[in-house]
Amino acid sequence: MAVRHSEVLSPEGFRVDGRRANEARRLRLRLGASPGADGSAYVELGNTKVLATVSGPHESIRKGAHDAAALHVELTTLPFASGVYRAHGRSDRASQELCAAVRKSFEAVVQLHLYARTQIDVAVCVMQTDGGVRSAVVNAVTLALVDAGVAMEDFLCACSVGAVGGVLLLDPNAQEDQAGSELSIAYLPRSERISAVQLESKLPASSLDEVMNVAIEGCKQMFDIMRGAVQIRTQELLHSRGMFNA
């Protein structure tokens, strides 16, 4: 179904929720949101809300590689996440795919060789979904791993771009998501590499470059906020031990 330009952007250039085309929703973060866990992070991307907890590295229960840690990712989407009750089983295809993608991306970023014969468990709880779940999950897992003190090569920051009726919209919400195609990207900001990219539905090949650039700009914005949150958390921790006065 074709969507007209005017349905996506008002004549003044505003989207349905009042943002401009290149504006992401408010990203709110909290490291250490779940006090009992080794590491945890809560991420709010507009109305999308995700909690990631990390336990480990601890002794491996399952038999894995002898020279590297095993990374396990489990994802739960709460039945009331979208507003309409939907029981998501553990074998839900979409969440399994997302789990596998997250694990694959992070296996390259986490320095697994430092934790031989151990395993790192990541549990993600998707509490509310309103577009950009993939990005919120990746960002939350990055921050939870940082909070757990797991060595990583780089941050992994994710952002999505929607192409609806010929307009590029940064960080589309669920409503915009359904109207057009969405490209989501996981980016390593310090080494300037793309870790994963996924495109849903079709997009003219000529505009791919532009879409990627917009997405990477979005990832860089996410990175700035995420780095800020990590710095604040680190200062809090130093402060609580009387090691830092600022």
């Binding site: 489990e74 709460l78 009331f80 507003g83 009750y85 509310q128």
Partner: protein
Amino acid sequence: MASAAEQRYTLHGVAADLRDDGRARLDFRPLSLEVHLFPQASGSARAVAGAAEVLVGVTAELAAPPADAPDMGQVLLSIDCGPAASAARLPEYAAAADERLLWLEEALRALFSRESIPEALRTLCIARGTQCWVLRVHAQLLRLDGCPLDLISLAAAAALAATRVPRVSGGGADELGGGKRQRAAGGGKQDLDLDESLDESVPFDCSTLPLYVTLANIGGYAVADATAHERRAAGSTLSLALSPAGRVCALRGGGGFGLHLQLAGEMMQLASQLCAQLHADAKDAIAQALADAEGRRWPAGEGTAPGFLA
């Protein structure tokens, strides 16, 4: 598993009426309660007590009432505890880890049955025999510690207290009121007008909801709100669900070598006294949580951040 020395330490502490965290035998842990966390849910709450944390969300659906109770809506409960492995950390209600969740669900379903809250369920009925509200309550155990029954029943009560369902009027009713109206052709029998504006929505009456109190038998003493650590030293436990009017709605007990009849009687007495106290405290806590949500101008407010950001 706790070592023999650790168990002895717990037993001696309980005997001296001074537990690990400084509580007396019948003290509860301080409770922190928040409501209205998620704008996309009809109602939501988060309860934290000690190291235990529960998140509850409510979604309202239109459905046909059950054939044997045509004038009642339904409250359906589901429970999950995150990663598959974490069910093993639940108290040993059943041998297999995944059966423990089922046990919990069964025990809590009794609270929302037709027998325990008939009046509240009747208010969920829209048109006798054709249309009613079904409130689907989901409790997610984010962190486990001690007595999940107690905390879930409390968090569910808070979430239901925060739940508002759209006001419904029969088809062809006058178009008074400013709210956005949506036509729902439900059940194919009757056209209904849903008033989606928040001012016009109807709160769920949760004044008769029962709450669970769990008492653990540790060395012959009844201990309220035991932590996971204490439960390992506990012989058996007794969970009693009482309505605010003092009627028993559900009872679960067992574990260890069983309860001596005399002790069981004493524990029931104690539990019913504690439950009355708990109902009073819960009512205050829920009222406070609702007022706090009002204070941050729910649902549009940009005030102090709730929930996990606080």
